[in-house]
């Protein structure tokens, strides 16, 4: 039996090992290795609107892309760091959007007050509404979040409150186009890097512990329900901000804020972009949203495509783009003889 048995070996790149700890600042190469991808992301996304001066339609798409990126971020955080699968991101956008409309139109607050207020109060409201299912098993959270957007749509329609099917119109728009563009881009970057910091803090570790083994967390004297409350508040905060932004972007808050798109595209983005990496959520939405614009002509068929791709990724346990890229960046593979 002279078969040449080879196996694939994966080793950290030398450059990666040299960048651990204090040695990261020892030379430009290491610094660039660490900072490169991050700089690329930041510079890239900030420069993008300028590049797109030639195609103003696509500048609006960038805004929407960042909105979905934020929703995907909140889904990734909840699902992969805390273990709560939120099937209804539209719940957050709807609440945030409608609250911002109420603050802006009915209470007359200016836009730079209505958006922050809507974010905070929306997050609080969403957390309270999700409170009943937090002490329970994960499947209940999924069920309730799935149902809330659908139910709220029907309730608003049936009771004809908050503008009914017409929605609330007359919201202020942003003072100028640059603020409109960069408010969301900056916030997206802030939330991204903020969340990365957050999940590595001690409190973030506790939340990750809740996902891994919540009985053990209980036995350590921590009230798991309170932790989940905190996690939901953070995710709702991000989601409601997105909703408030969208409402002011279109100067209208209507039933479409609860649309299925806001629930499904974030999930698909996370699965495709790589769950658990936070950046993957952004990358996924950067891919899916422009794709969705291109496919706009197909109408509802878009959703069929997302769902098919999503199911494919889940079933074949694909790791997602970011994880693959990270692996390639940090490690190299080679065949060695056994």
């Amino acid at each position: 039996m002279d078969k040449n048995m080879m196996r694939k070996e994966r080793i950290d790149r030398g450059l990666k090992v040299r960048t651990e700890g204090i040695y990261a600042i020892s030379s430009y190469r290491e610094i660039l290795y660490l900072l490169g991808p991050r700089l690329l992301l930041i510079v890239g996304i900030i420069a993008l609107p300028f590049v797109l001066e030639l195609a103003p339609y696509w500048k609006r798409v960038v805004n929407i892309m960042c909105v979905y990126a934020l929703l995907a971020l909140s889904f990734d955080f909840l699902a992969n760091y805390v273990g709560l699968v939120c099937l209804g991101g539209a719940f957050f956008t709807g609440v945030g959007g409608y609250l911002s409309a109420i603050f802006n139109v009915h209470l007359g607050l200016p836009i730079y007050l209505s958006i922050p207020l809507a974010t905070v109060s929306g997050a609080a409201l969403c957390t309270v509404l999700l409170l009943p299912c937090l002490p329970l098993r994960g499947v209940y959270f999924a069920i309730i979040t799935l149902m809330y957007p659908l139910l709220l749509t029907r309730v608003i329609e049936a009771l004809d409150i908050l503008g009914g099917t017409n929605g609330i119109t007359g919201l202020d728009s942003f003072p100028n186009a640059y603020i409109e563009q960069y408010a969301i881009i900056i916030m997206m970057l802030v939330f991204l890097f903020g969340m990365r910091r957050f999940v590595n803090q001690d409190i973030g570790l506790v939340l990750r512990g809740v996902k891994d083994n919540d009985q053990s967390v209980r036995a350590s004297g921590i009230n798991v329900t309170h932790m989940k409350l905190l996690a939901v508040f953070v995710a709702a905060f991000i989601g409601c901000f997105s909703g408030a932004y969208v409402a002011h972007l279109y100067m209208w808050a209507g039933l479409s804020l609860f649309a299925l798109d806001f629930s499904i595209i974030p999930i698909a983005s996370v699965v495709i972009g790589g769950g658990g990496t936070l950046v993957g959520a952004l990358i996924g939405s950067f891919i899916l949203v422009p794709l969705s614009e291109i496919l706009r002509a197909f109408g509802s068929f878009r959703i069929v495509i997302y769902c098919a791709v999503l199911t494919g990724f889940i079933v074949f346990k694909s790791e997602g783009i970011m994880i693959y890229l990270q692996r390639k960046y940090h490690q190299f593979e080679r065949w060695v003889k056994v």
Binding site: A79, G83, V85, L87, P132, C133, P135, L136, R137, G138, V139, Y140, A142, I143, I144, L146, M147, L150, L151, R154, V155, A158, L159, D214, Q215, L260, I264, I267, V271, F298, G299, S300, F301, I303, V304, Y306, C307, A308, L310, T311, I314, V315, F316, K317
Partner: protein, 289 residues
């Protein structure tokens, strides 16, 4: 009196809708979020058989539609769910995605507007205790009771049915006795989808086939199962009566717009007071140590 009759009809309607979902969850622990989609799909298939292709006789169209729906349910398990069995999160997302794909695909494929209807089995109505009731609604009640009886007999006296109950009670123990968990899951998904189709062909003649109804069905099914207790068939029936009567009462005294609100409030109240539902067997809703 009217309230009583309509209450019964509404309750049996709800229980027909929810039984498929409850069955699949209790046996294979898979929350089948494609339930509503399968419901609408069955109705649409029946419509296609009746109108698009050579005009099938109604009973044949019904049988074919239910059969196809069961088959598709089983295929969903065999090709998708079987690979992610046990990972609840992935199961939920996958079934939800499939349900969405089916519903939105149907919408794209032409299911728009109110023109898709199924004819009732027997036209006309009858007077009972002073209230006018269509024959169709009577058939619904009758079929509902019949299907419950059949299910009861099946799961208590038929070998396969007993195997299903065994898996529902304790999967590991049943597997040790030689009951194939995957096979029973396929069967349970087939029966669950078939029940969705059965409910569809009974209930859709009352209105028209619209995609929104798919989401409504899913909401009601989940509401009934959560209140009755995920995993308990008796609880499903009891809960459907509770919600059914609650809805009829609100319709009578408030307005018909509040039906959804009733469902939502009922769920929240249940989760706050007795999370495992009325007959819920899972008292430890957190995982056992």
């Amino acid at each position: 009196m009217e309230i009583l009759i309509y209450g019964i009809i509404n309750s049996i309607t709800l229980s027909l809708l929810s039984l498929g979902f409850a069955l699949v969850y209790s046996i294979s622990r898979v929350p089948n979020f494609a339930h509503g989609a399968l419901y609408i799909m069955a109705g649409y298939i029946t419509w296609l058989f009746l109108n698009k292709f050579i005009a099938f006789p109604y009973p044949l169209a019904i049988i074919l539609a239910i059969g196809l729906t069961s088959l598709i349910g089983a295929l969903i398990y065999r090709f998708v769910l079987i690979r992610i069995r046990g990972m609840e999160i992935s199961e939920i997302i996958a079934t939800y995605a499939i349900g969405l794909a089916i519903l939105e695909g149907l919408r794209w494929g032409g299911l728009r507007g109110m023109t898709f209807t199924l004819p009732p089995f027997v036209a006309g109505s009858v007077q009972i205790c002073g209230t006018n009731i269509d024959y169709q609604r009577l058939i619904i009640v009758g079929s509902g009771i019949l299907i419950f009886a059949l299910l009861y007999l099946f799961t208590h006296f038929n070998k396969i049915g007993l195997a299903l109950r065994g898996i529902a009670q304790d999967e590991r123990a049943a597997m040790m006795l030689g009951i194939d968990s995957d096979m029973t899951a396929i069967i349970s998904l087939a029966i669950g989808s078939g029940l969705a189709g059965f409910a569809a062909i009974l209930l859709l003649p009352l209105g028209s086939i619209i995609v929104e109804a798919g989401y409504n069905v899913l909401i009601f099914a989940i509401a009934v199962c959560v209140i009755g207790g995920l995993g308990s068939w008796g609880g499903t029936v009891v809960a459907s009566f509770i919600i059914g009567f609650a809805q009829i009462l609100t319709e009578a005294f408030l307005s018909s717009h509040y039906q959804m609100v009733v469902a939502l409030l009922a769920i929240i109240v249940t989760l706050l007071i007795k999370p495992s539902g009325i007959f819920g067997k899972q008292k430890e809703l957190e995982e056992r140590v």
